[in-house]
Each structure stands twice: as structure tokens, then as C-alpha cells.
């Protein structure tokens, strides 16, 4: 019985990590459904971008209030993880505050965790107010109805509970230390929880140990739950922001990807020695589909983008189409892509590794044509994203499918394209009149 707690802890830890590993594998499998694209170039620039944008949060502070609050919660998350490491070691070995041998430095660490925990509680409350009382526009757009709205609040509740448990644990620990309880050696400094400790005055050592142990267990179980909640939540960004910023585009935002398959055909058309009637070679691959109508037609980086999106809505609030009441919302493009990808992933899991046609696709079933045609390609969404997501590239790939596979452009655009084909300008002017302006008064 002596080791019961250690064994239970080890089981919880292994189960938590195993379930998390399973989800990470599914995540990787789903992202790999995307088309190949080589982004292994310019490693040093990419590392720098990741350090600046993900670690340094350089784009978060463009909006100072949300940005600074986010930095606090983020620092709290990262730094309190050192405490989690101690909890894991204590849990496995049955020790108590195993890092206490660091002496003064340990006191400093615990003290800073406590201050951060308090700041996190403040930030989380402010975030909650912004979502639920102030009701900022970008948090109540149509695509946020239902699960996304609940998800956003749930994360705040989890963080709040975790921080309160952490402080309760320390407060009861402090009380036990002062009572000279066995096993509870004096260690740590408690600038915040010392104000909670008086609540526990007069309680017996047994009760205090029960409170301390309960808080300790709930805290670590909460963390393991949170780890596994990530996959089902917008909160996946705390992990994926790093690869996402690393693989983010290094080109000028105006440079849209070149479609290789089209380049080959155009070269063939321009080659005077090519035989227009030649049958394709026996071993020629089937012609590639142009553009994207479903998630498998997108590149893996676009799918990674979708999983990384934290639904903050900065893209949508900067989008000129959305600002003027059009249906397009770049955030919805990312959320739809993730939802459809998850649906395809579940299909593959259910069918033992093979995708079985389900009669659905990203186009029309998730993203409407009206949304796609409302985009001005202004790159405001790309600029606004704090973690280098590119909703515009998905919109463009889907337009390519509509135009090149389906000839389904709005009729005005068909006239424009006809004009370019026939007379080299989007309007019906004769190319031979191109220089007339020079002689007109």
C-alpha cells in the first residue's frame, strides 16, 4: 500500500501521454493528406521567424491589450511547466518538493510561479470579460456559434481552475510547513498563497494534508486532461504555432504560388516542334487536378495552418469584405478546412486506413462560392495572423478549381478573361490602340 499513490500516478501519467501520442499521430497523418511541398530551404531565416513570431510573440502585441495579456498567460504556461516537472518527479518517486535543494533559487522560482499564477488569473478574467460581457465583435461572428464559443470559454475555466488549485496547494503546503508536519520540509517562498493560508488556520494536519494532496492531484490530472483536450480545441496553437511560423511563407505577400502543372502545358503549347496530336505516353501520369475542391487537394502547410488556427479572428476583423458585411470570413475558411479535414480523418480511422468516398467536399459543403468570390486578395488577413497562417492561399486554390476545372466564374469575370484572351486587356479594347493615349490631347 505504501506505493499506491506512486503507482496510481504512474498509471495516470502513462495513460495521459499514451492518449496524447495517439492524437499526435492522427494529427500528423491528417496533415500528410495534403500535397507535397518542399519547405526545407532557408533554415536560418525560418528559425529566426519562429523565434520572433512564435516564441517572441512579435505579432501579438500589434493589438496591445490582448497582446500583453496573452504574453502573461503564455509566460505563465511556459514557466509553470517547470513546476509540472517537479510534480511529475515527486509523483513518481514519492518525494516532496524535490527541487527544494536549490535553496534560495527554489524560493525565487516558487515565488515567481505564484506571481505569474496571479497574473494569469487576472488575464483570464479579462479575456472572459472580453468574450462574454464586452462581447468584442470578432468573438461573436456567425462561425463562432456553438462549439468554438464554448471551447474559448472552457479553456479559460480550465486555466482559472488550474491556477487556483496551484495556489491552494501552496497555501496548504505553507500551513503544513509552519505546523512542522512530517514530510513537509520548509521550502519555497509564497508571496501570493500566504494570503490564502489564513483560511486554513485551525485545521488539523490531517485535513491540511487532504487539502494539499487533493489540490496536488487535481492540478496534475487537470494538466493531463488539458494536454489531451488540445487536439479537440483551438488551443492546439500552443504547440503548432512553432512549426507553423517556421514553415510560414518567406516570399513577398503579393507573390502567389506558381502552378507547375500549368507551366508544363504552357511550355508544350509554345513549343513549335511539339506534336499537338500526339497521344500521351503509355506510362504518362493522369493529368493533375487544377486547384482545390477538397482538403486533399491542398498542400500540407495549408492543413497545418488549419490545425494551428486559434480562432482569434484578427484576420476576419481586418478583412475588407467581412467589414462591409460580406459572407467571407478568413477565420471561417481556416475553421472549415480543419472541420472537413477532421471529418476525412475520422472516415479514414473508421475504414482502417482508407478514405471511403462520402459525397462531401470542402467546396460547397463547407465553403460557399459566394465567400470565395468576395475576396479582394488584399492580404490583410495574412498580415493580421499572429502565427503566419495564410487563408488567402486556400481561397486562391479553390478559385483555381472553380475556374479551371469547372469554368464556374461569375459571368463578369468570364467577360474579363475573354477580353484578355482576345485583345490582351481586361476590357474590350483593341490591342492596336494601346498607344493611342500618347497622341491624344
Amino acid at each position: 500500500m505504501e506505493y499506491l499513490q506512486n503507482i496510481l500516478f504512474a498509471i495516470a501519467l502513462v495513460l495521459g501521454i499514451a492518449f496524447f501520442t495517439r492524437n499526435v499521430r492522427r494529427l500528423a497523418r491528417n496533415i500528410k493528406l495534403g500535397k507535397e511541398v518542399d519547405l526545407s530551404d532557408n533554415a536560418s531565416t525560418r528559425w529566426r521567424n519562429m523565434a520572433m513570431i512564435a516564441l517572441g510573440q512579435s505579432k501579438m502585441v500589434v493589438r496591445p491589450v490582448a497582446g500583453i495579456m496573452h504574453v502573461i498567460v503564455y509566460l505563465g504556461f511556459i514557466i509553470i511547466n517547470i513546476e509540472v516537472l517537479e510534480i511529475i518527479i515527486d509523483g513518481l518517486l514519492g518525494t516532496h518538493r524535490v527541487f527544494a535543494f536549490m535553496g534560495g533559487f527554489y524560493d525565487f522560482l516558487i515565488a515567481s510561479f505564484e506571481v505569474l499564477a496571479l497574473l494569469v488569473i487576472v488575464a483570464v478574467i479579462v479575456f472572459w470579460l472580453r468574450r462574454n460581457i464586452i462581447r468584442l465583435q470578432r468573438f461573436i461572428k456567425p462561425e463562432m456559434k456553438g462549439w468554438p464559443e464554448k471551447d474559448g470559454n472552457l479553456i479559460l475555466y480550465i486555466e482559472l481552475v488550474l491556477m487556483i488549485l496551484f495556489l491552494t496547494m501552496n497555501a496548504s503546503d505553507l500551513q503544513l510547513q509552519q505546523l512542522g508536519a512530517p514530510h513537509y520540509n520548509e521550502a519555497g517562498a509564497f508571496p501570493v498563497s500566504q494570503f490564502i493560508a489564513p483560511l486554513f488556520e485551525g485545521l488539523s494536519i490531517g485535513t491540511l494534508v487532504l487539502i494539499e494532496r487533493s489540490a496536488w492531484w487535481l492540478h496534475i490530472l487537470g494538466i493531463l486532461f488539458f494536454l489531451n483536450y488540445l487536439y479537440y480545441s483551438k488551443h492546439l496553437h500552443i504547440l503548432l504555432a512553432f512549426p507553423n511560423t517556421y514553415y510560414g511563407s518567406l516570399n513577398p505577400k503579393g507573390q502567389f504560388a506558381n502552378l507547375e502543372s500549368v507551366t508544363r502545358e504552357v511550355r508544350l503549347m509554345m513549343d513549335p516542334s511539339a506534336d499537338p496530336y500526339a497521344a500521351p505516353a503509355e506510362d504518362a501520369p493522369p493529368p493533375e487536378k487544377f486547384g482545390a475542391s477538397d482538403v486533399m487537394d491542398l498542400k500540407w502547410i495549408q492543413l497545418l495552418n488549419a490545425y494551428s488556427c486559434t480562432e482569434c479572428g484578427r484576420c476576419t476583423s481586418e478583412c475588407p469584405a467581412n467589414q462591409t458585411g460580406k459572407k467571407l470570413s478568413p477565420r471561417k475558411i481556416m475553421m472549415d478546412t480543419r472541420d472537413r479535414l477532421e471529418e476525412v480523418g475520422r472516415n479514414i480511422t473508421a475504414n482502417k486506413g482508407n478514405f471511403v468516398e462520402d459525397g462531401k467536399q470542402l467546396l460547397d459543403d463547407y465553403i460557399s462560392r459566394e465567400e470565395l468570390w468576395a475576396c479582394t486578395s488584399c492580404n490583410a488577413c495574412v498580415e493580421a495572423c499572429p502565427i503566419s497562417i495564410d487563408p488567402l492561399s486556400i481561397i486562391m486554390d479553390m478559385r483555381q478549381y472553380l475556374v479551371m476545372e469547372q469554368s464556374a466564374a461569375p459571368s463578369d469575370l468570364n467577360s474579363m478573361m475573354g477580353n484578355i484572351e482576345n485583345n490582351g486587356a481586361p476590357w474590350p479594347f483593341n490591342q492596336m490602340d494601346r498607344l493611342n493615349w500618347a497622341s491624344e490631347s
Binding site: G254, Q255, V262, R399, E421, W427, R434
Partner: protein
Amino acid sequence: MSNEINVPTMASLFAEGKEPEVLFWVGCAGSFDDRAKKITKAFVRLLNKAGINFAVLGTEESCSGDPAKRVGNEFLFQMQAVTNIEILNGYGVKKIVTACPHCFNTIKNEYPELGGNYEVLHHTQFLKQLFEEGRLSLEGGSFKGKRITYHDPCYLGRANDVYEAPRELIRKLDAELVEMKNCKKRGLCCGAGGAQMFKEPEKGDKDVNIERTEQALETRPDIIAAACPFCNTMMTDGIKNKEKEASIAVMDITELLARAADL
């Protein structure tokens, strides 16, 4: 104001065995749109004044392919690009200047992968260089005391990070440059990009150009400066919609400079 402008074509220079310092890529709007043609001519007057040895392609120029690419017609885009590149490379063009940010972006960023490698400048960058090199100068201040707000074209600003060249030119006018609440990286689109210029907008509460015009009006400007023929059209429409065309002018930076130089 002199109407005499000198516009040599690439073909005529080539026939004489000469090579221009820079090719002026006029673009479809600059060639055909009545409002944009004025911008083209203002730019040519400045080039003539600075004594720049330039040429245009004239009837050999064709759409850069930008609207086709943004619509999703990669095939049409590449056909246009490859045809243009063949002509540009045939003349051995090395440096291109254009008054259209869409042509600028496409030729600069999307032609290289298809075999077209040139030094490409937007006209505001080119004019800024001419001032720096002392080949152009301004005296007097016909815009002194005027409030000018500058609308960043998406394809010049966010797409290519060119924010300062147009502003530096405006500062030369001795006028007061007033920024809109959304400017530079956070500049709001005029509503024409992504081939929206050529179609009706989707259903919504208002048009994008009206929203942008309202932002411009908040700065109480005398002049809205543009640097793109499409932005110019959209902002001009916005000003007309607000019935302010009598008091507020929408002008390309080139036109402001040409007027300041009495051209």
C-alpha cells in the same frame, strides 16, 4: 501645361540600334482608362523633364495577367506571362518601371519563375530615385498648406512592403501628410483587388470603397493621394458617392508632382 510629350517605343529605338535606360510598362488601365491615361501622361512628362531615356512597348504590350491569376485562371495568366516575357527578353529589357502596383507585383514576383528576370520598380520608387540623384527637383509649393492623405495600394504596400517611397514624394510637396486610421501594413483595401474591379461585389452592408472613403474623409483631406489606377477609380467613385468631388480631389502621386512642377 504642355501637351507635347515624347513617347518612344521599344521597336523604334531597337530599329535605330539604341537601348533605353528603362522600360515604362504602361499597363491596361494606363493605356485605355480615361482617368488612368492622365496619370500615364503625367508620369511621361516627369520622365521627359528629367531627360530619362525610356521607351514603351506600345502595341506589343499585353495584360500582365494579374487579374487572370487572382481569379484563379492560372492557364491564362501563364499564357500572358510567357508571351510578355518573350517580348521583354527579345528586347533584352533589364529594368522596368510601371505606374500600376498590380503589374509591378506580377512582373516583379511572378515572372521570374517563368523566365522573366528584371529589376522592377513602381513609379513612386523610380521618381524617388530621380529626386535623390538630383535629376528631378521641385521648387515653390503650389500644395503648401494642403492636407493630403495617402491610400496604400495593397499590391504596393502589404504585398511588397513599399510604404515610404510614396510618402517621401508627398513630403516633397510641402503639404501636410495626414494618415488614415488604417494605413501602411493595416491599410484597408479600396475594394478593387483580386479582380473585384471587373465584377459586381457580393451582397453586404456597403461597398468596400465607401468604407475606405469614409476613413479618408475622417482625416479632412483636400486631396486623397493614390498610387494605383484601380484605387484611384474606387476612391473617385467613393468621393462622388459622398458628393465631395467639388472639394476633394483624388490624384495619383505622379499627377501631384507633375502639377507641382508646372508640367
